[in-house]
């Protein structure tokens, strides 16, 4: 069939020839304004083949994404969970049960909610410290000056890095998360990042005693065997990515929403019991990680579309979280939305290991920001986004009025 016939056939069915879309989750279009595209794909082409990055299937409906997350026997994580590949397998996410659970159990207890709650007082002090630094200013960048500065320091301390390591870690993780990491520069950055993490772990193994995740990784074992330094480095790398590039974004997205919805701001202040559902709703609405990958371990179908074994499946967490088949008013924040079966933390065995810490940090960050400022207004025309696995809010000028 010629190209023109192909396009004409597609035109009969809809106005867009989907085979010509070349869907690219790391493109600026998807980073800046993906909502209409995702809505159209959910309706017209919920399982879309893209020739980008060597070929992949993009799945956009909640029902299908749910199955991919939960049905790990069919949709394996062991061949990688990103497109393009990271420089090495990241543990535990790039593994399948039952081995996966053994890796997780090393870290799980320290990030269980009852343990995370013990961090609340210093996390609050960190939020206040960051706001104190802005004292007297009526304009600043919400993302850089508050949300990321605060959230990254929370993650850093729980993981066990020194505060002076933040700039380096930020540089490496930013390039590997949002840049074209499958090129020569990406390989160099990955090498530096890997060497630093490995050195940190080796050093910690000679001076144990800290109460942090690095210590747990150093001491960790699977099935009675101590983790190799490669496994340790892999786990620490994933914790660093997950901690540094998610929480600050949810906080920023929440505050941007609240800046233009004063009624929600007042509701949260008047009824703090709304916070529990509100935090999950902000995670759904913002969806900081918008795309992840699995690989089919056997022949299957998705939404009636036959997919052979060995295919790469890119699934849309951001799209699923805004699927009108599941969520009323999907593109609005509904503070008391319940139930709220979002995949902002994933689902199935790979549910975000830091979800309880992330939710606590967002909550405290919101509470302290709203306690400090009686009014705040985002400049919506100047919000910048960056693409990658996530949809990263990179900048947002904010004007504030202190109480």
């Amino acid at each position: 069939m010629s190209v023109s016939e192909d396009v004409a056939l597609a035109d009969e069915k809809s106005s867009t020839p989907w085979s010509e879309l070349h869907y690219d989750h790391r493109s600026s279009k998807v980073a800046v304004d993906p909502w209409d595209l995702w809505r159209t794909l959910r309706a017209e082409c919920p399982v879309l083949f893209s020739d980008r990055y060597g070929g992949m299937w993009f799945v956009s409906r909640h029902e299908d994404v749910n199955r991919i997350l939960v049905e790990w026997e069919t949709f394996s994580a062991a061949q990688g969970t990103n497109i393009p590949d990271q420089g090495m397998p990241l543990l535990p996410i790039d593994s399948d049960p039952p081995l996966h659970r053994q890796y997780r159990s090393i870290i799980n207890p320290a990030l269980a909610p009852q343990r995370v709650a013990e961090h609340a007082s210093w996390i609050r002090a960190e939020a206040i410290r960051q706001l104190d630094k802005l004292d007297g200013r009526t304009e600043f960048d919400l993302v850089h000056d508050y949300c990321e500065a605060y959230a990254k320091r929370v993650a850093l301390r729980v993981i066990g890095f020194a505060e002076q390591d933040l700039d380096k870690l930020d540089h490496w993780t930013h390039i590997l998360s949002t840049g074209p990491r499958d090129d020569e520069n990406g390989a160099i950055v990955f090498g530096e990042f890997y060497a630093f993490l490995r050195e940190t772990l080796v050093q910690r193994s000679t001076e144990p005693g800290s109460d942090d995740l690095i210590t747990l990784v150093v001491q960790g074992d699977v099935g009675g065997r101590q983790l190799t330094i490669e496994e340790q480095t892999s786990m620490l790398m994933l914790l660093t990515f997950g901690g540094l590039h998610t929480t600050g974004n949810v906080l920023a997205g929440a505050l941007i929403w609240l800046s233009s919805h004063p009624e929600d701001r007042h509701a949260l202040t008047a009824k703090p019991e709304l916070m529990s559902t509100a935090i999950d709703e902000f995670v759904r609405f913002v969806s900081p990680v918008t795309h992840m990958r699995r690989t089919t371990a056997r022949d299957t179908e998705i939404g009636g579309c036959p997919i052979p074994a060995g295919e790469r499946i890119l699934f849309g967490i951001g799209s699923a979280n805004h699927d009108e088949r599941v969520f009323d008013q999907p593109d609005d924040v509904v503070l008391d939305r319940y139930p709220n079966p979002h995949f902002g933390f994933g689902a199935g065995p790979h549910r975000c290991i830091g979800s309880h810490l992330g939710k606590l940090a967002v909550r405290i960050g919101l509470e302290e920001f709203m306690a400090r400022y009686r009014a705040f207004e985002a400049d919506h025309n100047e919000i910048r986004y960056e693409g990658g696995e996530g949809r990263h809010i990179a900048a947002c000028p904010m004007t504030v009025v202190a109480r």
Partner: protein
């Protein structure tokens, strides 16, 4: 009549023990377990258990009325 509450394949989202801590609690790794408490059907607590089950994103919580005897 009392409710029988069971959890199958919990992934540790923690929504149930946030919504109804009287009946659900995290184990040492954060996965949910059902506390050893009596929940009579028709009570306010029973309604809260059902509400918590509804909120599970894994749909992993089953709530049934025990057969008498």
């Amino acid at each position: 009549m009392k409710l029988v509450v069971t959890i199958d394949r919990c992934e540790g989202h923690g929504r149930c023990y946030d919504a109804c801590p009287e009946v659900f609690e995290p184990d040492v790794e954060g996965y949910a377990v059902v506390r050893d408490v009596l929940v009579e059907d028709g009570t306010e607590l029973a309604a809260r258990v059902r509400h918590a089950a509804l909120g599970c994103p894994e749909r992993a919580i089953a709530v049934v009325v025990a057969v008498a005897g």
